[in-house]
C-alpha cells in the first residue's frame, strides 16, 4: 500500500474539529463533536488496512483483495455510534424540555462545597460566577459585538464591585441565547 497523506490529514483535521466542538457548553455542539470524532476514528481504523479489490471470494486473487477485517470493525463501530447518537439526541431533547436549556449544567456540588467554606477577604473569583446570574439585559448575548453601550464588564463591575474580572462577557451559550 502506498502511503498517502490524505488519511492522516483528514483524520487529524476531524479530530481537531471534534475536540473543539466537544469542549463547547452547548450539547448540540457536543453531539456534533462526538460525530466528528467518531468519523475520525472510523477513518483511522480504515486507514490501517490494505486497499485493493473487493474482498469477495472468486472476484480477485486473495493477495490483491482489500483487508476485510477493519471494514467489518468500522461497520460495527458505525452502528454503535449511530445508536448512541440517537440516544444522546433524545437526552438533549429531554434536557431542553425540562429546563429549556441544552447546555452542560452547572456543577451544583462544586458550588455547594465552595459556598460551605467562605474565606473572609477573598476576592470574588470571576470564574465562579455564572453568566446566568446576570439578567438578560446585562448579558452580551444576541447583540452586535462591541457596539456602543454594550459595556458588559462595566455593568458587571457595578453589580459585583469586588470582582476583578475580564472574562465574563462571553455569551453563556448559543442555547441560552435563543
Amino acid at each position: 500500500m502506498t502511503p498517502t497523506v490524505v488519511f492522516p490529514v483528514l483524520v487529524a483535521g476531524l479530530y481537531a474539529a471534534g475536540v473543539y466542538l466537544l469542549l463547547d457548553r452547548s450539547l448540540t455542539r457536543v453531539l456534533l463533536g462526538f460525530l466528528l470524532l467518531g468519523n475520525a476514528t472510523n477513518l483511522l481504523l480504515l486507514s490501517t488496512s490494505r486497499a485493493g479489490e473487493p474482498p469477495i471470494v472468486g472476484t480477485a486473487e486473495p493477495a490483491e483483495m482489500a483487508d476485510p477485517l477493519p471494514q467489518a470493525l468500522v461497520l460495527t463501530a458505525i452502528v454503535i455510534t449511530f445508536g448512541v447518537s440517537a440516544f444522546l439526541l433524545a437526552v438533549i431533547h429531554r434536557s431542553w424540555r425540562l429546563v429549556r436549556r441544552e447546555v452542560v449544567e452547572t456543577d451544583e456540588e462544586d458550588r455547594r462545597v465552595a459556598a460551605r467554606s467562605p474565606r473572609q477577604g477573598d476576592a470574588l473569583d470571576p470564574d465562579d460566577l455564572d453568566p446566568g446570574d446576570l439578567s438578560r439585559e446585562e448579558r452580551a448575548v444576541g447583540r452586535a459585538v462591541g457596539g456602543p453601550g454594550d459595556d458588559v464588564e462595566h455593568r458587571f463591575g457595578e453589580r459585583f464591585p469586588d470582582a476583578a474580572s475580564d472574562d465574563v462577557d462571553l455569551p453563556p451559550t448559543r442555547g441560552a441565547a435563543r
Binding site: 476514528t41 481504523l45 470493525l73 444522546l88 437526552v91 429546563v99 429549556r100 456540588e109
Partner: protein
C-alpha cells in the same frame, strides 16, 4: 463442558431481555423471568469457575471459525471468578429492584424498561469478561454502556438528565479512545486477538508498544475511574435509583479494572508504565478519600470512596507480582460486593429517612435497629476492620507492597493505610450523625451552613438535587421551567421569587416525606435483598481462605500467560501461518 457453558452468560440475558421486552405489560412475569435468567446464569458461572479451576482455561471459537479469525470466548480463572461475582451482585440487586417494584407498585417508575435493560447490561458485562479479542471487549463495553445510559436516565427527571449527560459524554469519549487504540494496535500488529497479540507485541519496537499501552490505559482508566480520569463518577452515579447506582458502583468500574488487569498482564508484561500506574494509584486513593470526607450526602460519600478504593486495585496491578495481582483480584471481588451492598443500604436509608443528605438525617438507629446493623457491617468491612474481607484484601496488598520493596511501593503502603483510616472516618461520621444523633436536635452551624449552601445552589437551579424524592419532582420541575420561561420574557425578579417558592414547597414536601415515612416499616423484600447482600459480604470473609488461594492461582496464571495462549491455540502456542496483512 466449558465450551458448552461459556456462551450462556452472554446469550441467556440477551434472550431474556428480548422476551422481557415482549412481556412489558406483565410486570409479575417480567420480574419472575429476570430472576430466573440471572439465577440460571449465576449457576452457570459457578459451574464455569469450578471447571476452569479444575481443568484450566478453555476457549470457544464462536461459529467454529479457524482460531485467529474467530470470535473467541475465553474462560480462565480470572474471568470465571469475575462472572460469578458479577452475577451474584446482579442477582442481589435484581431482588432489591423486584422488592422495590412490589413495595411501590408499578406506577412510580417505568419498570417495564428496567428489566430488559438490566439484562442487556449483565450480558454486556459477561461479554466483556469473556471476550478473547480487543474488539469484542470494545463491543462488550458498548453493550453495557448503552444499557447503563438508559438505566442512569431512567424516568428522565432533571437531576438524572444532568448527571446522565456528563456520564454519557465521558463514556463516549473513552470508547472512542479505546476504538482508536484498537485501530493502532491492528495497524502495528495485524491482529486484535489477545492471545495472538501477546506473542506479536513482543516483536514490536518498545516505543510503539508503550504508546499502545498508554492509549489503552487511558481508555480503561476513564472507565475504571482512576485519578485524574475520575471526576465524572461522583457527579453522575448518585442521581440514579438505588438499585441502578448499586450495580453501577459495584460492577461497571470493575469491568474497567478487569480490562486493565487483563491487558497489563497478557499484552504488556513489561514494566514501562509501572511507575506511572503507581503514582496514579496513590493519587486515586488519597484524592478520592479526601473527597469522601468533604461530602455531606451518603451516596456522594460512597461514590468518592468507590473512586478511592480503585486505587488499591491499580496498586496491586502495578506491583506486577503474584502477591500483588492476587491481592488486586481478591480486592476486586470484595469491593464489587461491598460497594453494591452499601449503595443498597443507602437506598434503604433514603426510604426510611426521606433523604441521603446527612444534615437532614437523624435517629435512624432508634427508628430501625436492623437498618443500623445492615449499614454498620459493610461500612466496617469497607474501612477494613479485622477480621472482615476488606481487612484481608488490604493486608494482602500491603504485604505485597512491602515485599516488593523500594520507595514508591513503600509510599503506596503508607497511602493505603492512611486511606483505610480516612475511610473509617468517613463511614463513622455518617454512622454517628445519621444513626445516633437524636431526631430534631439542633446541630447549629452545620445545618445552617448546609441549608444556606443548598439555598444558594437552589436559587440557580431549581429544586435541591439532594432530595431525589421521586414522586414530587415532576411537579417541581414543571414549575421551575415555567419560571425560567418568565426570565426569558425579562421579568427576572418574579421568576426568582417563584423559583424560591417552588424550592420551599419542595422542601416542605420532602419534610412531609420524612415524617410520613419514618413511621412506615421498611418493606420486607427490600430488607431481605439487602440482608442477602450483607450476608454475601460476610460470607466472603468466611470463605476468604479458599478464595484467596483461588485469587493466587488466577494471578499465577495471569503472570505466566501461557495458560491463556494455550487455551486459545491448543497445546503449544505456535504463531499462526498467515502473516501480517
Amino acid at each position: 463442558m466449558i465450551r458448552v457453558l461459556a456462551p450462556l452468560p452472554v446469550l441467556l440475558p440477551l434472550a431474556g431481555a428480548a422476551l422481557s421486552l415482549v412481556l412489558g405489560r406483565f410486570a409479575r412475569t417480567q420480574r419472575a423471568l429476570s430472576t430466573l435468567v440471572l439465577g440460571a446464569v449465576l449457576a452457570v458461572s459457578v459451574a464455569l469457575l469450578l471447571l476452569a479451576d479444575a481443568d484450566g482455561a478453555a476457549a470457544v471459537a464462536v461459529g467454529d471459525w479457524p482460531v485467529p479469525q474467530a470470535i473467541m470466548l475465553v474462560v480462565d480463572r480470572l474471568s470465571a471468578l469475575m462472572l460469578v461475582v458479577a452475577f451474584t451482585v446482579g442477582f442481589g440487586v435484581l431482588l432489591f429492584a423486584v422488592g422495590q417494584g412490589w413495595a411501590d407498585g408499578a406506577e412510580r417508575s417505568p419498570v417495564s424498561i428496567f428489566h430488559p435493560t438490566f439484562l442487556v447490561l449483565m450480558s454486556g458485562v459477561a461479554f466483556a469478561f469473556l471476550a478473547g479479542d480487543l474488539f469484542n471487549l470494545y463491543v462488550g463495553f458498548e453493550v453495557l454502556l448503552t444499557a447503563s445510559y438508559v438505566l442512569l436516565t431512567l424516568g428522565g427527571s432533571a437531576p438524572r438528565i444532568r448527571g446522565g449527560i456528563t456520564y454519557i459524554i465521558v463514556s463516549l469519549l473513552s470508547s472512542l479512545l479505546f476504538l482508536a487504540a484498537i485501530g493502532l494496535v491492528y495497524a502495528a500488529a495485524g491482529t486484535v486477538n489477545m492471545a495472538q497479540l501477546s506473542i506479536r507485541l513482543a516483536e514490536l519496537p518498545a516505543g510503539t508498544v508503550v504508546l499502545l499501552e498508554a492509549l489503552l490505559l487511558v481508555a480503561f482508566g476513564i472507565k475504571a475511574a482512576v485519578f485524574p480520569l475520575s471526576a465524572w463518577l461522583p457527579d453522575s452515579y448518585p442521581t440514579a435509583p438505588a438499585p441502578v447506582t448499586a450495580v453501577f458502583a459495584g460492577l461497571l468500574t470493575k469491568v474497567g479494572v478487569y480490562a486493565i488487569i487483563r491487558t497489563q498482564t497478557l499484552l504488556f508484561p513489561g514494566e514501562a508504565l509501572t511507575t506511572v500506574l503507581m503514582w496514579a494509584a496513590l493519587a486515586t486513593m488519597l484524592v478520592g478519600i479526601l473527597g469522601a470526607i468533604a461530602q455531606t450526602d451518603i451516596r456522594r460519600m460512597l461514590s468518592f470512596t468507590l473512586v478511592s478504593h480503585i486505587g488499591y486495585m491499580v496498586f496491586g496491578v502495578a506491583l506486577g507480582t503474584v502477591a500483588g495481582l492476587a491481592g488486586a483480584v481478591f480486592y476486586v471481588v470484595h469491593h464489587i460486593v461491598i460497594q453494591a451492598t452499601l449503595f443498597l443500604v443507602a437506598g434503604l436509608v433514603e426510604r426510611k429517612g426521606g433523604s441521603t443528605a446527612v444534615p437532614r438525617l437523624g435517629g435512624l438507629a432508634a427508628a430501625s435497629p436492623l437498618l443500623a446493623v445492615l449499614y454498620l457491617v459493610p461500612a466496617l468491612n469497607l474501612a477494613g476492620i479485622p477480621p472482615l474481607s476488606g481487612f484481608l484484601g488490604k493486608l494482602g496488598l500491603l504485604q505485597a507492597g512491602v515485599a516488593a520493596g523500594g520507595v514508591l511501593p513503600g509510599l503506596l503502603v503508607a497511602g493505603g493505610v492512611v486511606t483505610s483510616l480516612l475511610t473509617l472516618l468517613a463511614v463513622a461520621r455518617v454512622w454517628t450523625r445519621s444513626f445516633w444523633r437524636p431526631v430534631g436536635q439542633d446541630i447549629g452551624a452545620d445545618t445552617a451552613r448546609a441549608a444556606a449552601a443548598a439555598d444558594d445552589s437552589r436559587a440557580d437551579s431549581g429544586p435541591d438535587p439532594d432530595v431525589p424524592g421521586e414522586d414530587d419532582e415532576p411537579a417541581a420541575h414543571g414549575a421551575s421551567s415555567s419560571g425560567l420561561g418568565t426570565t426569558r420574557a425579562g421579568a427576572r425578579a418574579a421568576a426568582w421569587e417563584r423559583r424560591t417558592a417552588v424550592a420551599t414547597a419542595h422542601d416542605e414536601l420532602a419534610a412531609d416525606g420524612v415524617r410520613g415515612r419514618a413511621e412506615e416499616r421498611l418493606p420486607g423484600a427490600l430488607v431481605g435483598a439487602t440482608g442477602l447482600m450483607v450476608a454475601v459480604s460476610v460470607a466472603l470473609t468466611v470463605i476468604a481462605g479458599p478464595l484467596y488461594a483461588l485469587a493466587d492461582r488466577a494471578a499465577a496464571d495471569l503472570l505466566e500467560r501461557t495458560p491463556y495462549q494455550e487455551a486459545v491455540y491448543g497445546e503449544g502456542p505456535a504463531e499462526s501461518a498467515e502473516g501480517v496483512p
